[in-house]
């Protein structure tokens, strides 16, 4: 083959490799035209793409020095075979890897989830002190639970080699993304904003990343940004100096010279290193901001701010040279962004942004200015840290945007039903959480007046149903259905929701959120105001104010509340007492947590309706505890705690609580009747006074209740198929 021919083959292969496999055939067909030998040559090379991925990834010496034991299963030098059990993890396939230890996709057989196992490099694994420090360090990392920080699930050891069990991510690194050139402004701001979220959370816990660079920023296939190797950067890339470097994530790096000259470790990093890092001084949060500045510079211009022929010169430039103005390289950049980047890249850290929050605020301001409000899908990803409120806002916001300029925009959706989230944990104990999250989602959506939301109780009958969505939608008279699943693994909750428009059968929206359970209440408040800002045009000012009003809730209170909801849904006397206990506990934890009062009110209401309504008093009264018997004596006496709780929930909730409370009550009524609907009601007209409260007027004594029939509580009527928010409290 002549050099010219080879160049052609080389170029065609390269072009083809950049295409999706599906597009290659057509591309090559056209590119090779009639040159069949050329076509064959290219095709035959491309055939080896997959196989070549792991080929020669370990240098020659390493592949020779593998001992027999390690030839087959040594985690360091040889690829672990698929199916191998490493503790509770079953190896599925190798993922990338390269010089710094290997990474595998694995299955956690206890929790039935996919994870990534990252083995430490052989060198550091031999150093007992390094391993000990590594383990100590790794223990500190789970404190960084954040949607934009790659989660460290666990650490383990296999044949003497420690490994990390990490969240399995699909997508590409920012480094790979940047190979295709600078990012468009919208994407840049989106990614930057998510990185600052992660850094802000870490810095709040006094953890400095120390190695922020595109290779450590991962863009998931769903558009979420994950910062990798938080607090572990040193451990993973520079095993030799683990001893000094890993003691604390905030400690000083060893003198710069070594950091810079060690092969394979620091060279790629030098360009993002802050001046103080290069000088070997102590690093702090502002050092990360410098590195982020360098990363932003590259995202904006496609070039590094400091890039010289050698790492040594690069470091020299970091210490002394002013970077070229980003707008010289990309004139389309907003002036503000250039200002932010240059401020982050100030040599003197006191002249830089002093906190991540400052940079984040600037980015946010620019984002609002630059991005049109229609970029709602991006907005929902941006705020992916929120499970509930984000869903609650994003869905209606999506639904409510009227037909846009594009003719293919679907007609706006005016009504929606939230089907019970499927509990994918495989653990019946988590049912309460699935129900609780469903309720929270329904309740939050219910606050937007332009949207009709089917009450949770009505939607509950479709729990685990096999009915087609269209049928459910017809029965509930809604335009769209939101459904999804949740899973809880230890303290993490993962919720994924899809919104399907019935008329077109199209999935309008879908998102997956994963967060620490502890943070669920925090997401609500954190995200509420931000999302409200994003979509303020679509939501009335009052509603926006309500959302902005959302307050953080104590985690225990939140969990107790969810458990209480779960119990109260069972609508048996015993369960209701359990629920009352849970709600009380929630109130003890957080005396200002309105939903707990609403739940309490609901329970007392139920005690009056279900228990009195479902069986003749002659049967139930002797069995009831004295407390309850007293309540039966007077309707007013059981109404009192209900009303007290409701009043309390309304007064402390300012806008949030009444709707919650009303949701609680309106939910309770059809559910009550559902209880009765399974078995014909047996009580007679003699129990008249109680009927007032327990049964809608006009229903005969043996009528089976339809789930969406008239409902009534304390004299207020609502119409069939009615919504959460329209039922009122009197």
């Amino acid at each position: 083959m002549s050099p010219a021919q080879w160049r052609q083959v080389d170029e065609l292969c390269d072009s083809a490799l950049r295409l999706e496999p599906a597009e290659r055939t057509a591309f090559l067909h056209e590119a090779c035209a009639d040159d069949e030998p050329l076509h064959q040559e290219v095709e035959s090379l491309l055939a080896y793409e997959q196989a070549a991925e792991q080929f020669m990834e370990a240098p020659a010496l390493e592949s020779l020095t593998a001992t027999s034991a390690q030839q087959d299963q040594g985690p360091g030098s040889q690829t672990l075979p698929a199916g191998l059990q490493v503790g509770p993890y079953r190896i599925v396939a190798p993922l990338g890897g390269g010089g710094m230890g290997r990474v595998y996709q694995a299955r956690d057989t206890r929790l039935e989830r996919d994870v990534a196992l990252k083995f430490l490099p052989a060198e550091s694994a031999q150093d007992a002190e390094a391993v000990r420090r590594f383990q100590r360090e790794a223990r500190a990392v789970p404190a960084l639970n954040h949607p934009h920080i790659c989660t460290l699930h666990d650490i383990g050891e296999y044949e003497g080699r420690p490994f990390l069990v990490l969240e399995l991510l699909e997508g590409q690194s920012l480094k790979e993304r940047l190979a295709a050139g600078p990012l468009p402004l919208g994407e840049l701001l989106e990614v930057a904003s998510q990185i600052t979220d992660a850094l802000e959370a870490a810095h709040a816990k006094e953890v400095v990343h120390r190695d922020i660079k595109p290779a450590n920023i991962f863009l998931t296939a769903r558009g979420q940004v994950k910062v990798l190797d938080f607090g572990l950067a040193k451990l993973l890339s520079e095993p030799r100096r683990t001893a000094e470097a890993a003691v604390t994530a905030t400690g000083a790096v060893p003198p710069g010279d070594e950091t810079i000259t060690r092969p394979g470790a620091a060279m790629g990093t030098a360009a993002y290193m802050s001046p103080e890092q290069a000088r070997g001084e102590e690093v702090d949060a502002r050092s990360d901001l410098f590195s982020l500045g360098a990363t932003l510079y590259q995202m904006a211009t496609g070039h590094l701010p400091f890039q010289e022929a050698t790492a040594e010169l690069t470091v020299e430039a970091i210490l002394r040279k002013q970077p070229q103005k980003p707008r010289d390289l990309n004139p389309r950049l907003p002036l503000e962004l250039e200002g932010m980047i240059l401020k982050a890249l100030e040599k003197d850290r006191t002249a830089r942004y002093q906190s991540t929050a400052e940079l984040k605020a600037d980015l946010e301001r620019l984002r609002r200015k630059e991005l049109k409000p229609r970029t709602l899908l991006v907005a929902s990803r941006r705020w992916a840290l929120m499970v509930l409120i984000a869903l609650a806002i994003a869905i209606p916001a999506y639904l409510l945007r009227g037909p846009g300029p594009s003719s293919e925009a679907p007609p706006a959706v005016r009504s929606v039903a939230v089907l019970p989230l499927h509990n994918a944990s495989g653990d019946p104990q988590q049912e309460y959480l699935a129900d609780g999250l469903t309720e929270a989602l329904t309740g939050s959506l219910g606050r937007i007046s332009a949207l009709r939301v089917i009450s949770r109780a009505s939607a509950m009958q479709y729990k685990e149903t096999a009915k087609p969505l269209s049928e459910i939608a017809r029965e509930l008279k809604v335009d769209a259905v939101a459904r999804g699943s949740m899973a809880r693994f230890q303290d993490r909750v993962r919720v994924s929701v899809q919104l399907t428009q019935i008329s077109t059968g199209r999935q309008l929206w879908g998102e997956t959120y994963e967060r620490d359970l502890r943070d669920v209440p925090a997401w609500q408040s954190e995200g509420a105001s931000a999302v409200a800002r994003e979509v303020k045009l679509k939501i009335t000012p009052v509603e926006a104010a309500r959302l902005a009003n959302a307050r953080p809730v104590n985690r225990e209170a939140f969990e107790d509340y969810l458990r209480g909801r779960h119990w109260s849904d069972k609508r048996t006397e015993e369960a209701l007492h359990q629920a009352i206990d849970q709600f009380r506990r929630a109130i003890d934890e957080d005396p200002a947590y309105a939903p707990a009062y609403a739940g309490l009110a609901d329970c007392y209401n139920q005690l009056g309706t279900v228990l009195i309504g479902s069986q003749p008093p002659s049967t139930t009264r002797p069995l009831a505890p004295p407390r309850l018997r007293r309540r039966w004596r007077s309707t007013a006496s059981w109404l009192k705690p209900t009303r007290r709780s409701l009043t309390r929930s309304s007064t402390i909730g300012t806008g949030l609580a009444p709707s919650r409370a009303s949701a609680a009550l309106s939910n309770s009524i059809p559910a009550t009747r559902r209880c009765a609907s399974g078995t014909p009601a047996t009580w007679s007209a003699r129990d008249g006074p109680k009927r007032l409260c327990g049964r809608p007027a006009g229903l005969g004594s043996s009528t089976r209740c339809r789930p969406l029939s008239r409902r009534r509580w304390a004299g207020s009527f609502t119409s069939p198929g009615d919504t959460t928010k329209r039922s009122s409290i009197t």
């Binding site: 083959m1 050099p3 080879w6 080389d10 292969c13 390269d14 490799l17 035959s44 090379l45 491309l46 055939a47 080896y48 793409e49 196989a51 070549a52 080929f55 020669m56 240098p59 020659a60 010496l61 390493e62 592949s63 020779l64 020095t65 593998a66 001992t67 027999s68 034991a69 390690q70 030839q71 360091g76 030098s77 010089g99 490099p121 052989a122 060198e123 031999q126 003497g160 190979a179 030799r240 000259t261 060690r262 092969p263 394979g264 060279m267 790629g268 022929a309 050698t310 790492a311 040594e312 010169l313």
Partner: protein, 200 residues
């Protein structure tokens, strides 16, 4: 310090960096001796002993042989490139000997001993890779160099880019295509001739 005075070697390296080819000729045996000694030590290890990585080995050689304060980055790149070349020689020789020993004289002749358990298969692979790499270098010299630096020299993508004065993207692109090319070559070899004939 096992071999020549660091000052001499450093001087030679710098002279070579300035274009003095004679310096290179004097430099090679010195570096070769040290690397060979280290590689041997490394290859003779057994069991759960540390697996010394090529990158670490080459770096150790660098620190041992060169007075780091006196050389610039470019000299260092030169040094690594040189090491990669030397390592290739050492390892392929070693693999070839082993393969011959295994095939010809049986286990008794294995000089590096029972202590070292190296798969014969792997040794053969290394020899075959070396042959295929020679062929690749004829077709596309830069890709050949990328493979030599990365695979035999243990250099990172960035370092390889430094040595070859190209962008890391180019190195990655070359690396990927070169691996595909080599693998195809090796597969052909397996198809067309018996394995025992693969010696180059």
């Amino acid at each position: 310090m096992a071999s020549g005075a660091p000052q001499d070697i450093t001087g030679l390296l710098r002279a070579w960096g300035r274009g003095d080819q004679a310096a290179l000729e004097r430099l090679i045996p010195l570096v070769n001796r040290e690397l060979r000694r280290m590689a041997r030590r490394c290859l003779q290890r057994q069991g759960p002993d540390p697996l010394l990585e090529t990158a670490a080995l080459v770096n150790e050689a660098y620190v041992r042989l060169i007075d780091v304060k006196q050389v610039g980055w470019r000299d260092r790149a030169h040094f690594f490139a040189l090491c990669a070349q030397i390592m290739r020689g050492i390892l392929v020789d070693y693999a070839r000997t082993r393969r011959y020993a295994k095939r010809g004289g049986g286990a008794a002749h294995v000089s590096l001993d029972e202590a070292l358990v190296v798969s014969q298969e792997r040794s053969s692979d290394l020899v075959a890779i070396d042959d295929a790499l020679n062929a690749l270098s004829k077709t596309d010299p830069r890709k050949g160099q990328v493979v030599e630096l990365r695979f035999f020299g243990g250099l990172s993508v960035e370092e390889t880019a430094e040595v070859l004065r190209v962008s890391p993207q180019t190195v990655l692109r070359d690396w990927k295509l070169a691996k595909m090319w080599l693998l195809r070559e090796l597969s052909r070899e397996k198809l067309h001739e018996p394995r025992t004939m693969a010696t180059g």
